[in-house]
């Protein structure tokens, strides 16, 4: 029984195990690719490997996109992991809600990005 099944790296079965079968379409709406995540706790016994990995990765702020890249997991799977960690207070999500599609970007943001590009 201790033999691990023959998981394919990106098999639906593997993702099902990680997420407990929840798709999480509604609840992760607030998490975007560039939402920055910061750990608020150390990995604890009983956590899944993936949850523990997120906590290690996010000892300094890290975007959801970078977390997906380092864990080699799809975005939707990572958002489910993060929602659990968020609801238990183990991580903090540091971005305001995404800018609405129609709204013009904030001038202050544009000015700061231009400054950074000019000094590249």
């Amino acid at each position: 029984m201790s033999d691990a099944p023959d998981w394919h790296e990106d098999s639906p079965e593997r993702f099902f195990m990680i997420t407990g079968g929840r798709a999480g379409h509604v609840e992760h709406a607030a998490l975007g690719l560039v939402t920055l995540i910061l750990s608020k706790a150390a990995p604890k016994p009983g956590m899944s490997l993936e949850q523990a990995s997120v906590l290690r990765l996010c000892r300094s702020p890290l975007s959801v996109a970078e977390i997906t890249a380092h864990l080699k997991l799809p975005f939707s799977v990572v958002t489910v992991l993060l929602m659990d960690l968020l609801s238990e207070g183990n991580v903090e999500a540091r971005s305001p809600a995404p800018i609405p599609k129609s709204a013009m970007p904030d001038r202050d943001i544009l000015r700061r990005v231009i400054g950074a590009l000019q000094s590249l």
């Binding site: 920055l36 975005f75 544009l110």
Partner: protein
């Protein structure tokens, strides 16, 4: 019952490798606002090259997977069909200041998969559309999609060694670009040239912001 991926902590399978997974790429603790730009364009047009030439980290890959597990269930009782589609995007990062981090995403080459990335354009400041003058027609779908989504964009002509040189006006005409959309030439392999294309986009966004404030 046990699977490799859900063993509890203490199984030790990741021990040692995960102590300092980010290393010198760590962001300052004060980082709190992630913003994004999109580098769009047809397959092989140089999106990843552009991302790489300005990014402060080695470009990473983010993926989204869509599993269509229920296809055919209604019509074919008892037959389970699963199709897994994976769409990958390269991205890079530029630290703007101690609070703000800019991410650059290269769109997946096949725009028919963009529906998987509804979040891609949402919240993006804007997009640079890279085009190759040898196959301009491959950009039509992308331009259409951007206009549909209301994402502000500029067009950058990636200059390839063997590409015929067209004037920006000729390319504008061929792409049927509205007069307000800036079009520039660039060499995506060069940091300064890619940076200038991104700056053209940012100045375009400033203009749009100015215009939207007029009474």
């Amino acid at each position: 019952m046990h699977s490799k991926v859900s063993d509890p902590v203490g199984g030790g399978q990741l021990a040692g490798t995960a102590d300092d997974p980010i290393g010198e790429d760590a962001l300052p603790d004060t980082a709190r606002l992630g913003v994004k730009l999109v580098v769009a364009g047809a397959f092989g047009v140089g999106k990843t090259t552009m991302v790489r030439s300005v990014s402060e980290i080695r470009p990473l890959v983010t993926e989204e997977t869509m599993t269509q597990a229920s296809l055919g269930v209604d019509s074919t009782a008892g037959v389970e069909t699963k199709t897994t589609t994976t769409v990958a995007m390269d991205f890079g990062r530029i630290t703007v200041d101690e609070e703000m981090i800019l991410y650059l995403f290269g769109t997946p080459g096949q725009e028919r998969f963009w529906f998987l990335w509804n979040g891609l354009f949402e919240g993006a400041l804007g997009a640079v559309v890279l085009v190759d003058t040898r196959r301009l027609e491959e950009s039509f779908g992308i331009l259409e999609k951007l206009e549909e989504s209301g994402t502000p964009f500029i067009v950058a002509i990636n200059t390839f060694p063997d590409s015929v040189s067209y004037s920006t006006d000729e390319v504008r005409q061929a792409l049927d670009l509205p007069p307000g959309v800036p079009i520039v030439e660039c060499d995506a392999r060069r940091r300064d040239s890619s940076r200038d294309a991104l700056l053209t986009l940012m100045h375009h966004l400033q203009k749009l912001a100015d215009a939207s404030e007029l009474p």
